[in-house]
Symmetry: C2
Subunit: 128 residues, 2 copies
């Protein structure tokens, strides 16, 4: 891979993402970072989110809603997606890594890992 050069835009994007626990989309990152730097382009946001995800500094979440979400928390954890409001919430969960082994049992290829997310109704939407 090419040598990485420093960029203010990338810093802003990473910093913004670290302040948020709600797993924003590229568009949300864009409109927020734009408050500090009105000249930044959407393309730059996408390029940097992809780059940061590639080097493992952030996580790209594909939750089946057709839009990518991004998470500065790269530690292994799970997510809940509210079917009503779309909110994405971190989930505390006793490790279920065992399911990978469990899946491996009857499978001849090699299982490297799994993607899991939960869905339902969030606390907010239940009170309505």
């Amino acid at each position: 891979m090419a040598v990485l050069k420093h960029s203010k835009q990338r810093d802003m994007i990473k910093e913004f993402l670290m302040t948020r626990k709600d797993h924003p989309t590229a568009d949300v990152v864009y409109s927020n970072v734009r408050l500090q730097n009105p000249n930044i382009s959407l393309g730059t946001v996408y390029r940097n989110l992809t780059l940061l995800a590639d080097i493992g500094e952030i996580q790209r979440l594909r939750l089946g809603d057709g839009v990518d979400h991004f998470d500065a928390d790269t530690s292994p954890h799970y997510h809940f997606v509210c079917s009503e409001c779309g909110r994405v919430i971190d989930l505390e969960l006793d490790s279920i890594t065992g399911i990978t082994d469990s899946a491996q049992t009857h499978f001849k290829g090699h299982i490297a890992g799994h993607i899991t997310y939960f869905y339902g109704t969030c606390e907010n939407c239940m009170n309505e």
Copy 2:
């Protein structure tokens, strides 16, 4: 929902899907069904796949590769996606529905279910 009327196109799509265990994409469904009916349009394929999924006759799979896959097998089961060739394979797996309860423990909203898929290298790609 509106009353459903019979359509040859829908039948063909459903029938084709039932012959396949490889979870084809809309495009693959389209080009195959076209062999029997060269006039069918891609829009019709999409509309019927969506309709069939909505009424629960087929399953729509979002596996994070940017393309929807479809499965005529609506029984609960899991999938493996090969990171190299993209193949989607059914997985036999001792039930892991317990993870939904496990996730519910520390969560105040209501968890209705989970989406899980596994990834790695399939048998075919391992022998290369």
